[in-house]
Assembly symmetry: C2
Homo-oligomer: 252 residues x 2
C-alpha cells in the first residue's frame, strides 16, 4: 500500500521575541508532527509544537555547510512517512536561510511544501532600536549584504553597496567587524559615517552600539560584541532617537 505523503512547512520563526512569529507559522507549529529547527530559533517557541513527537535540532555551526544535504534528506524522509514537518528557521527563511536549496531538494523528491515568511532580524533590530531604515527625508533605498561570505564566491563589494543605497544593512558581520570597516573605508566611505550595531535584537538582552566607522571597532571590542548582530550604516543611524521605545543597553 502506498503511504500518503506528508508536507513540509518552511517557517520563519522571526528573531528573538517569540511574539514576532506569524499567525500562520504558529498554526503550522501547533499542528505538526515533527519540528526540524536551527540554531537561531528561540527555543521557547518549541513549547507550541504540542502535537510534535520529535523536535530535531540541526543547528549548523559555522563552516559545517556540508550538513545541508543531511537536513534535506531528513525532511524528505519524514514527509515520506506521511508526517507534517515544520522546518523552523530563525528570522525570514528568504533572507540568508538557504530556502532555495531546501525547496529544490523537496521539489526534486516530489514532496509538497509551503514557505511561511518570517520577520527578519534586520526588521526587528530596526523596529526595536528605532533605526528608520527608510524615511522620506533621508533614506529611500536600502542595501543588504552578509558579512560572512561563502568562500569561493565573487565577493560582495560593500563600499559600492553603501554608496548606491542610503542605508546599508549587514547580516552576520559581528565576527568580521574590523575587516568590514577596513573594506568600507578603503572603498571610499568617510570615517565619520554613522554606524550602529544591534546585538540580540528584540530580546531583553538587546544592546545597541552606536558610533562612527572610525571608532566602532574599538567600542564593539569594549562591549564584547558577539553574534548574532545586525549592522546599520548611513544617515538613518544619525537620525535615531536617543532612546528607543524598547528599553535596552545603549553604548555610545
Amino acid at each position: 500500500m502506498k503511504r500518503t505523503l506528508g508536507k513540509v512547512y518552511i517557517v520563519g520563526a522571526g528573531p528573538g521575541d517569540i511574539g514576532l512569529i506569524t499567525v500562520k507559522g504558529l498554526k503550522a507549529l501547533k499542528r505538526c508532527d515533527v519540528v526540524i529547527y536551527d540554531r537561531l530559533v528561540n527555543p521557547k517557541l518549541l513549547k507550541y509544537a504540542v502535537k510534535a513527537k520529535e523536535l530535531i535540532y540541526v543547528g549548523k555551526e559555522r563552516g559545517e555547510s556540508h550538513r545541508q544535504e543531511d537536513i534535506n534528506k531528513l525532511m524528505i524522509e519524514k514527509a515520506r512517512q506521511g508526517l507534517i514537518v515544520v522546518r523552523l528557521k530563525g528570522g525570514d527563511p528568504m533572507l540568508y536561510g538557504r530556502v532555495g536549496e531546501e525547496c529544490k531538494a523537496l521539489r526534486d523528491a516530489g514532496i509538497p511544501y509551503e514557505i511561511v515568511p518570517g520577520i527578519s532580524a534586520f526588521q526587528a533590530a530596526a523596529a526595536y532600536s528605532e533605526i528608520y531604515i527608510t524615511h522620506r527625508k533621508y533614506s529611500s533605498s536600502i542595501s543588504i549584504a552578509t558579512g560572512h561570505e561563502e568562500r569561493g564566491k565573487k565577493k560582495v563589494d560593500l563600499a559600492s553597496l553603501a554608496k548606491a543605497a542610503d542605508t546599508l544593512i549587514i547580516f552576520m558581520g559581528a565576527s568580521k567587524l574590523k575587516e568590514i570597516i577596513d573594506e568600507l573605508v578603503t572603498g571610499g566611505l568617510k570615517t565619520n559615517t554613522p554606524i550602529a550595531i544591534v546585538q540580540n535584537a528584540s530580546l531583553k538582552e538587546q544592546v545597541i552600539i552606536k558610533g562612527r566607522l572610525r571608532d566602532i571597532a574599538h567600542k564593539a571590542e569594549k562591549a564584547k560584541l558577539e553574534p548574532p548582530a545586525m549592522i546599520f550604516i548611513g544617515k538613518a543611524v544619525a537620525n535615531m532617537p536617543r532612546k528607543p521605545w524598547f528599553k535596552c543597553r545603549i553604548l555610545r
Copy 2:
C-alpha cells in the same frame, strides 16, 4: 483629575494573506480600543479588533501626503483620551511606512508607543513566488528602492543599485514601470536582464509576470498590471522554479 495616557501600537499588518500578521500584532489588535488603518491593510484583519469601538480609515491616496499631520494628531488625541490605539499599516511599517514621522510626533507629544514589525510585501512576494532573493550560489546581496520617489528629494540611482547588488527589489513601481526600465537600461543594464513582477503577493489573486527588461513593459501592459506590485531584477529571477508552491497565474 489627570487622565491616564493611552498607548499607540504601530503594527505591521503584513501583506495580503492575513495569516502573515505577527502573533504580537494580532494580540494588540484584539485588545485595542481604536484602530487607525491604511489603504493597503487587508480589511479582513479588522474583524479581530473585537474590543475596538472605532475603526478609522486614513488611507492615503497618492499625492495626499499632507494628511500625515492629521493622522499624527488623531493618534495623539486618542491616546490622550486614555485609549489603546493600533495604528495598522500594510506590510512592515519600517519599510516605506512613514513610521519615523509618526513616532517622532508621538514622542514629541509624550505618548508611549511600540513598533510591531510586519512581513513586508517583498518577503511575501519572494516566498509565495519562490524568488530566492538570497542564494549561496548566485545572490548574497540585495538592494531595495521605491519606484515612487518623493518629489524634491535627490533621486535614487536605480542602475547603481542594480549593479552593486545581486538582486534589486523595487516597491511601488507598477505605475512607473516604463520609466524604471528606461532608467535601468540607460544606466547600463543589459536588456536581457531577468525581471519579475508580483502583483497582489500572497493573495489568491497573485499574478507573476516574468520577462526581460526589453519585453516586460509590453507584457505588463497586456496583463493590465496594477498596483500593488513588487518588482524583482537579477539572477534570482532567472532561477525561479517554473511553478511556485503557491498556485497563481503566471505570465511569461
